[in-house]
């Protein structure tokens, strides 16, 4: 179970990197990052994490609702 959680966070980490690289880096004339690429990557990662947290909260709420369809008990 614990290993599943480690795996999920690894996957999540890999997917933030992939997403922010794809959205922010498009110039391959040099091998170092330019300042605005770096800023873009940091904002992107921030947004992605905040988005994941918010989705996680809403998901948990709706998931709990679905798991207890009969509130009268």
């Amino acid at each position: 179970i614990e290993q599943l959680q480690v795996r999920d966070s690894m996957r999540m980490y890999n997917s933030v990197v992939e997403r922010c690289f794809n959205d922010c880096v498009d110039n391959f004339t040099r091998k170092s990052l330019q300042k605005q690429e770096e800023t873009c990557v940091m904002r992107c990662a921030e947004k992605f994490l905040k988005h994941s947290m918010r989705v996680g909260l809403r998901f948990a709420e709706l998931n709990n609702l679905a798991a207890t369809p009969d509130q009268s008990n």
């Binding site: 999920d8 996957r11 959205d23 921030e46 988005h51 994941s52 989705v55 709706l62 798991a67």
Partner: protein, 85 residues
Amino acid sequence: MAANTDLPPGVDKEQVFGMLAMEMEYKVELFNRLAMACFNKCVDKRYKEPELTMGENSCIDRCVSKYFLVNGIIGQMLSAGQRPM
């Protein structure tokens, strides 16, 4: 869709564990696909600031809600014998 907590008698521990692991795997995959879909639908990809805007936040809430509804409709279709129309 909902977690089954009342199992038929005679089902042994290992099977229960296997089913719970499957259930968890299913939820994780549902979450990942939902999160990706709502990020694509709601978040501005120019990343002008590190915060989610109010508009993005309310879009995300509605998006999660709608994704669950779609999940429910298709779940019902499938369990109703796959011929709803």
